[in-house]
């Protein structure tokens, strides 16, 4: 019985992994169908959550390894003055970077989805689940793998910077497009409204926040100059 149970779980695991690969590939090749399937399959929120964790964590690790190499090089360069002292807190910088990147990405994930949800639901008067949108947004981040590839290439050789930049631009446009498709399927609205909800909405919020910040900064600076300038 135990053996059968193990085989079953192995088949289950391989089947799950195969379905996961198919979902990821589907997001790249046919996002419309892939998102419909994800909604129909009622995939849990943990999978996209782990996907974001992996994508941003690995990108952070690649970037942090570069920073770690730079710190080691600086420590070696200054060892004449400092002696062979252990890195201490400096050695923790890469880890802090990875953790910060992951935390910021998770906050960004929730905030951007929240703005799109508010926009689609209250401005365009459509129905849809916020948690469902979170899941689809998680999958929308899959082209971010191109950013990882670009960073690795850049790390191997600086000469690959045009290719790295190309990957970054493609990934950015692709992620924006996939987010619009995700909103479209989650709220059953046309792609124009979905684009406004997924991209224009967060951009407007971002611009408002930046404007408030600059206005606040301007008020502070002008107060030093004796009032409004």
């Amino acid at each position: 019985m135990e053996k059968i149970g193990d085989e079953m779980s192995e088949k289950g695991m391989s089947g799950y992994f195969s379905a996961f690969l198919s979902r990821i590939g589907g997001v790249f090749l046919a996002p419309d169908a892939a998102f419909k399937q994800i909604i129909a399959d009622k995939v849990g929120v943990w999978e996209p959550f782990l996907l974001i964790l992996l994508l941003v964590g690995i990108e952070g690790a690649v970037f942090a390894s570069f920073v770690y190499r730079v710190i080691l090089a600086i420590a070696e360069s200054l060892s004449y003055l400092t002696g062979n002292v252990p890195l201490g807190l400096l050695g923790a910088i890469p880890w802090i970077m990875v953790i910060l990147m992951v935390v910021v990405a998770l906050i960004f994930w929730i905030v951007v989805a929240g703005i799109a949800h508010i926009s689609a639901k209250y401005i365009f008067k459509s129905e849809g689940s916020f948690v469902q949108l979170l899941k689809l947004y998680g999958y929308s981040l899959t082209p971010y793998s191109l950013v990882i590839l670009g960073t690795v290439l850049l790390g191997i050789s600086w000469a690959t910077w045009p290719l790295s930049m190309f990957f970054n631009i493609v990934a950015t446009f692709w992620v924006v497009l996939l987010m619009a498709v995700a909103v479209k399927h989650n709220y059953n609205i046309d792609v124009g409204k979905a684009f406004i909800s997924s991209f224009i909405g967060p951009m407007v919020v971002w611009l408002i926040i930046v404007s408030i910040f600059w206005a606040w900064l301007w008020l502070i600076i002008s107060s030093f100059a004796g009032g409004f300038v």
Partner: protein, 298 residues
């Protein structure tokens, strides 16, 4: 189509895997290196060498020489001076330096009918150890820009006048021990500390020490037999204060000035008069040495 999706999903996983592998192995396989930051005049451990010179009677110093006139200039580093019980030794120089620093320049000449041996020592940076004998009367000028000077005058010391100055910043330590003989010693530090330790039962002669610190501290420790050695201290601080914690001294003391003498100063066999001028900083007088002075052996 399903196969293509699975393959593309596999490519995605492969990219993540490559990212993980690269993040792990790149610090080892692809280290970054910057040019090593070095200050030539400081030298590097393991890349040091020592220059040695000796001026010895009947070897390279005439019998007629009675006085030795030292002129020592070092830009950065340390000077350590002591006296030995060797009547033939005029001057022994040991200079530890980096291989990047030029060799010690030393010159000597006999003047005034062979009575005065004039010795010049110059270099950029390093650690200079001077050992003097007890068969000559010494004059000396010691100039250092940045670094430390340590001098010990004991029973073998026979000094007419020493002038020691640290032009920019550093530390100066002078210890007077039993039966030292000196007429005048001038010590000056621009920025830094100066410590004078008098730990003696007796002196061969009376002497005077003039101290000048522009910015920093002056610490004087006196532990003497007051019937043999009368110690006087006249000190003035421009900005700062004076602290006296010594029962053997009496006289006038204010926050920034003092004129103190040991009990029985007038009747003491020999006198040691110290005049200290401190710009910005403080001065202390106590019986025991307050602070340890870092001593490194070559």
């Amino acid at each position: 189509m399903a196969m293509a999706r699975t393959i593309l999903g596999g490519v995605f996983v492969a990219i993540l895997f490559v990212g993980v592998v690269y993040a792990v192995v790149s610090p080892t396989l692809q280290p970054i290196s910057f040019p090593r930051f070095e200050i030539p005049w400081l030298g590097v451990e393991g890349e040091r060498m020592v220059d040695r010179y000796s001026l010895v009677k009947e070897t390279n110093v005439s019998d007629s020489v009675k006085f030795v006139d030292l002129n020592v200039t070092l830009k950065f580093g340390g000077i350590n001076l002591l006296f030995s019980n060797d009547p033939y030794l005029a001057c022994d120089v040991s200079f530890e330096r980096s291989v990047n620093v030029s060799e010690l320049e030393i010159s000597y000449d006999e003047l005034d009918g062979g009575q005065v041996l004039q010795v010049g020592v110059w270099d950029e940076a390093g650690r200079l150890n001077l050992t003097l004998g007890n068969g000559y009367l010494y004059n000396g000028t010691f100039r250092l820009r940045i670094g430390g000077v340590m001098m010990t005058l004991g029973r073998h010391a026979n000094v007419s006048r020493f002038v020691v100055s640290i032009k920019y910043f550093g530390g100066l330590f002078l210890e007077i021990n039993d039966d030292a003989s000196f007429e005048q010693i001038d010590l000056s530090v621009d920025i830094g500390g100066l410590q004078l330790v008098v730990d003696a039962e007796s002196l061969k002669d009376s002497g005077a020490i003039n101290v000048n610190v522009n910015v920093g501290g002056f610490s004087m420790s006196v532990d003497v037999n007051t019937s043999e050695i009368g110690v006087g201290l006249d000190a003035a601080v421009d900005v700062g204060g004076l602290t006296v914690n010594h029962e053997d001294f009496q006289g006038q003391l204010s926050q920034r000035m003092c004129s103190l003498k040991t009990v029985g100063y007038d009747g003491a066999t020999n006198k040691l008069d110290v005049k200290a001028t401190i710009g910005l900083g403080g001065g202390t007088l106590q019986k025991g040495a307050q602070y340890g002075f870092p001593i490194s052996q070559v």
